[in-house]
Amino acid sequence: MDESAASEMNLVRRAQGGDADAFADLVRLYQRRAVSVAYRLVGNVEDASDVSQDAFVRAFRCLDQLDDPARFGPWLMRIVSNQALNFRRSRSSRAAASLDDMIGDPGEARRPATGMKLATDEGDETGPLPVELHDVISQALATLPDKQRLALVLFSVEGMPQKEVAEVLECSIELVKWNVFQARKKLKELLQEYL
């Protein structure tokens, strides 16, 4: 076990004992990935921030149910994913801007959430993804079944190891691969004209 893993386990144990500072350190370690995963699933920054915060609070409440402190990361991502997917399901009754809204009105996607901005990582092979294409891909991803979308987001976008994705999805590694494959295949049909 490397030093960082041992340090993380120590933080988890302290947090399990009710140490809020230790938990804050865990938040610092995982907040970027948590917000990013939530953002891929709910489609806008503000909701992603809220959903991921709720997930952290939920995680803190349920820390005593985490048997293996070494598995905190995947366990947390499972909570984040579930919170985000539940939020997506209940969003139809909410007025907040959403991925579906962006799909309905592509202009919405260009508008950053209040007080927050969307940063695009440059320096890639062809420059930033055009906004219109970004929206088309968001729309296509939104049509995938939850498990396929989650597998693709965690594995292909977030770069999580298949083993950890399997823990999040609570399935075997082979089924993670299968879900990623199915997601790619459906996207190939939906995005044919962009290939």
Binding site: V35, V57, M116, Q162, E174, R184
Partner: protein, 222 residues
């Protein structure tokens, strides 16, 4: 296709897996065989690769938020969990309290309500009729007295005031001449079961001092 359709030997699946990691000897042999046999598999593999690049490109857009503020918010929420739990407990208690419903005999309840509506409604209608008739009579008499100069000093000049009660239109025409006539007319009392429907109305004729013949106008319903 769902998870139940999982087929580890599906050439298209192997082509997808090959994008992510080197295949094992057996899987690689199967894929190579499929690629040699069909251009479709090769084409699909290339398209899946293009999709993977597109998705990764899509994923480069990152939410840009104030991470320090984010950490502070989460920490504050975690530290106030005890308080939140207490509020949740109160909410839960209130919900349970509100969910307990009194058990009643609905048929008896409905019957009792309808009985009371009928009884009270009847009493109300009766009170209204008495009040309106009484008020109309009093008003008519008072006006007639003033108009005919009832209190003249000479008893021979005394005029009669006739007060008639009847339905609209009939009340005035069915009474003979007199010095003055105050006519009170009213519609029929509505059925008791339709209390909120038609209202009874009362009206009276304006009166004059000359013998009847030229009838006067009937006032609008009061």
């Amino acid at each position: 296709m769902t998870e139940s359709d999982y087929n580890p030997n599906d050439p298209e699946f192997l082509a997808s897996c090959a994008l992510d990691e080197p295949l094992s000897g057996d899987a690689k042999a199967k894929l190579d065989e499929a690629l040699d046999a069909s251009n479709d598999v090769r084409s699909l593999g290339e398209q899946l690769g293009a999709i993977d690049r597109l998705v990764k490109w899509w994923g480069r857009r990152q939410p840009n938020i104030d991470w320090k503020d984010y950490t502070r918010l989460v920490k504050a929420r975690v530290e106030s969990i005890g308080e939140e739990d207490q509020l949740d407990a109160v909410d839960s208690l209130m919900s349970r309290w509100a969910s307990s419903q009194p058990i009643i005999d609905e048929r008896r309840f409905e019957s009792a309500v309808m009985d009371r509506i009928g009884r009270d409604g009847f009493a109300n209608v009766r009170r209204r009729i008495i009040f309106r008739i009484g008020a109309s009579l009093a008003a008519a008499a008072a006006i007639a007295i003033v108009a005919t100069g009832l209190f003249r000093s000479n008893p021979s000049d005394l005029r009669f005031v006739q007060v008639a009660i009847g339905p609209p239109g009939r009340a005035a025409s069915t009474y003979g001449p007199s010095s003055a006539l105050a006519v009170v007319s009213f519609d029929r009392t509505p059925p008791i079961r339709k209390i909120t429907g038609r209202q009874s109305s009362l009206s009276f004729l304006a009166m004059g001092s000359s013998p009847l013949g030229g009838l006067m106008e009937e006032s609008p319903p009061l």
